[in-house]
């Protein structure tokens, strides 16, 4: 098995409506892969196609070395999936959800479900319907992880979780990754992708815009140049080729720039700034920048 997830020109259309278009992506075993995109970009469509919940219009999918959807069943034994908003059957306690999931997998996960519930601060004896949104998320996390899958597919897992639980969640996730699990995580929270993921892909309007290591995504794009002590910039700088974004504040001004740094520095050299700071933009900035430009 060379890849944990591999898609080739994967397309899913809903009649005339767009789902995903020619998505080619590779996730290697052992990676923590971040999948970033706004609502409606096609993240969930991509994930549901991987799981065999929906059928692709065209293209190829391989998950853990098995072709999807033909071998979905054998693949699903090794996958843990957490939907962004999980719904469960009426009248069930969290414990019943875990037991039903275990029985469907023909695997005894009772002990692990209690351990995970304890670490996340979840009382599994409570009715799921009575739980808060955050606690229902915990139920979904435990259900996805209790059978110790080789591949975890998590759709917006941390939204609705408080910071302490998020930390406990990432501790468990990183532990599982160290034990060999591959993790595919879709998220809006770019800081957590930047902090925890080794690789990431950005999807927009059904197309993959960029897929690379998180460190290279930071390296290959623009820089933010902050000039302290000035609160205005001349038009020739604002309109300078490669300047993507200008921010002017009371005590400083900054530009997001992609191009030869020497050219811009020569241009701003005459400005009366007190200090100059050149930084790598955050993933958030890269994300927004890529979307704004539609590259």
């Amino acid at each position: 098995m060379d890849t944990a997830i591999s898609t080739e020109n994967l397309t899913k259309r809903y009649g005339r409506a767009r789902g995903i278009e020619n998505v080619s992506l590779e996730v290697l075993p052992g990676q923590i892969f971040g999948f970033i995109g706004p609502n409606g970009a096609g993240k969930s469509t991509f994930i549901r196609t991987l799981l065999g919940l929906i059928r692709p219009s065209s293209g190829n999918i391989s998950v853990l070395g098995n072709t999807i959807p033909m071998k979905s069943r054998s693949v699903l034994k090794q996958i843990g999936y957490m939907p962004s908003e999980a719904s469960y059957y009426r009248g069930m306690r969290a414990l019943d959800v875990f037991r039903m999931s275990s029985r469907l997998r023909k695997k005894d996960c009772e002990r692990e479900s209690w351990v995970l519930s304890d670490r996340l601060g979840l009382d599994p004896t409570r009715q799921v319907a009575d739980l808060s949104f955050g606690n229902q998320k915990k139920v979904a996390i435990v259900a996805a992880m209790q059978h110790k899958p080789k591949l975890l597919i998590l759709d917006e897992p941390t939204s609705g979780l408080d910071p302490l639980v998020q930390r406990a969640f990432w501790d468990i996730l990183l532990e599982r990754n160290r034990q060999g699990a591959t993790i595919f995580i879709s998220s809006h929270v770019l800081s957590e992708v930047q902090q925890h993921c080794s690789h990431a892909a950005i999807i927009r309007e059904g197309h993959i815009l960029v897929s690379d290591s998180v460190s290279r995504l930071g390296e290959n794009t623009a820089r933010r140049i902050t000039l302290r002590g000035i609160n205005e910039l001349t038009q020739d700088i604002i309109n300078f080729p490669g300047v993507l974004k200008v921010d002017i504040h009371t005590s400083e001004s900054s530009v997001l720039y992609q191009g030869d740094m020497h050219d811009l520095l020569a241009k701003i050299n005459h400005l009366p700034y007190s200090d100059i700071i050149i930084t790598e933009p955050s993933l958030e900035e890269i994300f927004l920048h890529v979307y704004e430009r539609g590259e």
Binding site: R55, S87, Y89, G91, M100
Partner: protein, 262 residues
């Protein structure tokens, strides 16, 4: 068989409440039978005065003074309508509720084939219908013992069996329709049951009989017809058996390949 037992658990309240409520209604209807028997002349006049209404409910074909005749016309007909509605409502939501209640995203990422889900859910539906018929039949049998009147037990069993066959048939057809929709459709289920029932009333009135008898399976399972003829019409039993199997195959094919709406 996880899904099979899960479905039984989820549906047990609806099954028992419907069964027991129908039983109480049937016992009330049967408790009036001795009075009807004692006032047969007046009842006959009343039935004659009903004209087409009596014909629609097949009251003109049987002597209501007989225990089994009364049961088939009054209690049997009530059970037929309630059971039909129950079968349709249970069947029409069996598959589609997973999408309608968004539980499909929990269920289907598990290593279970859709074929297995269909089979287990269908079996659960059949067991629920069987429980309904058994509870109702026990109630009916108890009322017969209490009324202490002679009746043909084989014919009684045939009536109950024909009703079970009817429920399996309409329940399965609605189950198959469930594969084509992505939301709960209780109203559609009730609508189908009422439509089939009304079609049978029209058949009894000789309106559109040649068409409707091929649409509503009530035509060959109506209790009054079983009592009159003493047996099923095997031609229609085979015909509706074929319709049921075909619809189940179509439903399975659709559900096994459809994109789940979540």
């Amino acid at each position: 068989m996880t899904i099979f037992f899960h479905e039984l658990k989820q549906g047990k309240k609806a099954t028992f409440i419907t069964s027991l409520a129908s039983c109480v209604l049937m016992l009330l209807i049967m408790s009036v039978q001795p009075k009807v028997q004692n006032q047969m002349k007046m009842v006959e006049k009343l039935v004659a005065g009903l004209g087409p209404l009596a014909q629609a409910f097949a009251m003109d074909k049987l002597d209501m003074g007989e225990l089994l005749n009364y049961y088939s016309l009054e209690a049997g007909n009530t059970m037929l309508l309630i059971g039909c509605a129950f079968s349709c409502v249970m069947g029409i939501s069996m598959l589609s509720k997973e999408e309608g209640r968004h539980t499909a995203e929990f269920l289907f990422p598990h290593p279970i084939s859709r074929l297995s889900v269909i089979l287990q859910k269908w079996l659960a539906l059949i067991v629920q219908l069987l429980v309904f018929v058994i509870i109702y039949s026990i109630g009916a049998y108890t009322s017969f013992i209490m009324l202490k009147q002679p009746y043909d037990i084989n014919l009684f069993l045939k009536i109950q069996l024909s009703l079970f066959i009817l429920f399996v048939c309409v329940g399965s057809i609605c189950f198959s329709i469930s594969a084509f929709i992505s939301h709960e459709a209780t109203g559609v289920g009730v609508g189908i049951a009422l439509t089939l029932y009304v079609m049978n009333l029209l058949i009894n009135l000789d309106v559109g009989k040649d068409i409707f008898k091929y649409i509503t399976p009530i035509y060959f399972t109506e209790p009054a017809k079983i009592v009159t003829k003493g047996a099923f019409d095997m031609y229609f039993a085979k015909y509706y058996g074929l319709i049921t199997i075909t619809s189940l195959l179509l439903g399975t094919l659709r559900y096994a390949t459809k994109d789940l709406r979540i």
